[in-house]
């Protein structure tokens, strides 16, 4: 009897190791990887024959690492990546279109239509689905509740005001909140070209068109828009240090040095991590020509590895995570981000998050598709560093808006030519 038991056990162990598939997933961020590990655990419970290891790499070096991984012909079975990096990697990804048809019963087009327009842009053209969406982020303006109350300022839509502020109103509010609360500055804006773009888009101005051609010089208001942005710093409304030495905007905002943070929906999670969730609130961005939040987010793709068995197992996991009824809801609940699918309300188990999600949904739904397609071009990611550096030079008075536009134009044209 004992012998039989041992034998069975050994057999099961061997069988297990033969039939089980080991997959590797790369992630661009340790905090996302921690969420992914939790849902992977759920998946493994239902699929004992599959085990997935989630490996995170430093965000700043992620594109570098992935480029080397593809160059060396050694891609992982699953790959999590952000909107910034995905467009450059699609050539290495498996087309998930047919699998979506099979497992979700939706045509690729129907599937993509079930996501927000701004997410759809990243997923692939025609019937191709290169990646499935994970979390979804959009820009908003975060405010310090106590400081706004003290200055008697109402904020939309959670603080007793319906309509977004106008740009002039917004600037006055910044001045007022700074003065009343006796804080050194009013608003934080992270040192990044995307933050600048999220502002510029409100002027209905874009840097590039959807093919990656430079078009900013064709807008009458372009110089004025840059000047207004630079003036926020010159007037002492935004800490110079944030754009001159990359001082942390979260520290300034959570530390009470600024009353506003021009950031986005990811601040929901950050505020919980910092234990500040009851002190802050998202608000609508001001209206300049238009008002909306440009989007970003995370995606999951299945790279072509050439190993049919692993690709199949990886695809199955991706399908599980693409399905709102199985993995997706579990994932988004834990990541505390927004759902990438339209009409998908999440029970976060945290009323605050649900209220905040509604604010962000409004901002996301208003966003025109170009605000995303432009940034999905290969040109954009290669000129972002130039853009933010030039603006920093503008803040210290070393460059005029006109010179900036000219410089960006020549850079964009050079990049386009080299591609």
């Amino acid at each position: 009897m004992k012998r039989l038991l041992t034998f069975t056990l050994v057999f099961l162990m061997i069988a297990g190791s033969i039939f089980s598939v080991k997959l590797t997933m790369y992630s661009s961020d340790e905090s996302k990887a921690r969420v992914l590990r939790q849902v992977v655990e759920l998946y493994e419970k239902d699929h004992p024959d599959v085990s997935i290891e989630v490996v995170a790499f430093p965000y700043a070096n992620y594109m570098q690492k992935m480029s080397l991984v593809f160059l060396g012909g050694n891609p992982p079975d699953l790959l999590e990546t952000t909107a910034t990096y995905l467009p450059q990697m699609t050539q290495f990804m498996k087309n998930l279109g047919p699998d979506i048809q099979k497992s979700l019963g939706l045509t690729p087009q129907q599937y993509k239509d079930s996501t927000y327009d701004v997410v759809k842009v990243y997923l692939g053209e025609g019937d191709v689905v290169h990646a499935i969406p994970l979390h979804f982020t959009t820009y908003s303006v975060w405010i310090n509740k106590a400081m706004f109350d003290k200055a008697g300022i109402k904020y939309p839509p959670l603080g007793g005001r319906e309509e977004p502020w106008t740009w002039e109103e917004f600037k006055d509010i910044l001045r007022k909140v700074k003065e009343v609360n006796k804080i050194p500055y009013a608003m934080s804006i992270e040192y990044s070209a995307d933050k600048f773009f999220s502002y510029l888009a409100l002027w209905n101005i874009t840097v590039l068109d959807e093919e990656g051609n430079f078009v900013m010089d064709q807008y009458e208001n372009a110089e004025k828009a840059i000047e207004e942005f630079v003036n926020l710093f010159k007037e002492g409304l935004v800490p110079l240090a944030e754009w001159l030495s990359g001082e942390s905007h979260t520290n300034n905002f959570f530390g009470g040095i600024t009353a506003v943070d021009w950031a986005g929906s990811w601040m929901s999670r950050e505020s919980f991590n910092a234990g500040k969730q009851n002190e802050v609130s998202p608000a609508y961005v001001p209206v300049i020509e238009d008002w909306f939040g440009i989007s970003g987010g995370g995606f999951l793709a299945v790279p072509k590895t050439g190993n049919a068995e692993k690709e199949k197992a990886a695809t199955e996991f991706a399908m599980w995570l693409a399905n709102k009824d199985t993995g997706y809801t579990e994932y988004i609940k834990r990541s505390r981000d927004l759902s990438a699918y339209k009409d998908h309300t999440i029970d976060y188990g945290e009323p605050l998050l649900e209220t905040w999600a509604e604010v962000h949904q409004v901002l996301a739904e208003r966003a025109p598709a170009w605000s995303t397609t432009v940034r999905a071009t290969a040109v954009w990611s290669r000129i972002t560093d130039t853009i933010r550096k030039d603006i920093a030079l503008g803040i210290t008075g070393q460059m005029t808006p006109k010179q900036m536009i000219q410089h960006w134009k020549s850079e964009a044209e050079r990049v386009k030519e080299e591609l």
């Binding site: 590797t24 661009s28 961020d29 340790e30 905090s31 996302k32 921690r34 290891e53 989630v54 490996v55 995170a56 790499f57 430093p58 965000y59 700043a60 070096n61 570098q64 690492k65 080397l68 991984v69 160059l71 060396g72 050694n74 992982p76 952000t82 979260t250 520290n251 959570f254 530390g255 009470g256 040095i257 990811w266 601040m267 999670r269 950050e270 991590n273 910092a274 234990g275 500040k276």
Partner: protein, 265 residues
């Protein structure tokens, strides 16, 4: 007098370190607090707990120790031997060979990353701890230090050994190595520190979680939206301990006032 100056300087040097250690015991909300607190109001082990809960710290520790110890042994041997050859050799084009070493002092590892990746890949060292050891065993800084040290060794020691009938191997083992003890000690300390804190090689070589090193895991904490500062601080406080031990161990190899009198061959 000497002690006072040293202590004042040491205090100045240690301020950031002190701040790191005390801050690593703060909670995230206290870290965000302004004005900053010098000592944590409430001691929090959040950072430390997260490291052990969320990452395979012991595995990273083992990997990094393995890499650092093995490569230190090889590095010390390579550098001492090269330094001796280039400082006391009599072959032609010696200066040219020395300059070849010196020029590589100026190479930024991050810049030659891609060519290095191609070579490591061709050698079949990808995703293995040996891929972190073999490409790093030669270090220009170590080599240059050794060359300069060896230049100072009096030629008379070597000559008198030769007169006494010792061959080149005997001279190296019985004269040069004992006379190089301070060099060996410092090279061991340096080399261990370099390998311990290396980030570039792990980044390009390592693909799977089981081969992660401490530095790679530490850098991974710097995320897209925010950094868990308390975890980073806790990580760096803990990661320093092994280097500290190596330092204290090897310090005893230094010797004041080496002289030929005590040497036997």
């Amino acid at each position: 007098m000497r002690k006072t100056i040293v202590i004042i300087l040491a205090v100045l040097f240690m301020i950031p370190v002190f701040w790191t250690v005390t801050s690593s015991f703060k909670s995230m909300s206290e870290i965000y607090k302004y004005p900053p607190t010098i000592f944590p109001k409430k001691i929090s082990f959040e950072g430390y707990i997260n490291i052990f809960k969320q990452s395979n710290f012991m595995r990273y520790l083992y990997n990094t120790l393995f890499v650092a110890i093995i490569s230190t042994i090889i590095t010390v041997f390579l550098c001492v031997s090269l330094g001796y050859g280039l400082a006391k050799g009599t072959f032609r084009h010696k200066d040219f060979f020395t300059e070849i070493v010196v020029i590589t002092l100026f190479v930024t590892a991050q810049i030659i990353m891609v060519p290095l990746f191609v070579i490591i890949k061709q050698l079949g060292l990808m995703d293995s701890l040996w891929g972190l050891i073999i490409p790093a065993v030669f270090t220009p800084t170590g080599a240059f230090t050794a060359i300069q040290y060896m230049k100072d060794l009096p030629d008379e020691f070597l000559e008198s050994a030769k007169v006494d009938g010792a061959n080149e191997w005997q001279i190296f083992v019985k004269i040069v190595i004992p006379l190089s003890k301070p060099l060996i000690a410092s090279l061991a300390i340096f080399s261990f520190t370099w390998r311990w804190n290396d980030f570039v090689l792990p980044l390009i070589v390592i693909n799977s979680g089981k081969n992660f090193t401490i530095q790679l895991a530490l850098a991974t904490l710097q995320g897209q939206y925010g950094i868990p500062l308390n975890e980073i601080l806790a990580f760096s406080v803990m990661s320093i301990i092994p280097t500290l031990i190596i330092f204290l161990l090897f310090q005893n190899l230094f010797m004041k006032g080496l002289s030929a009198g005590g040497l036997k061959y």
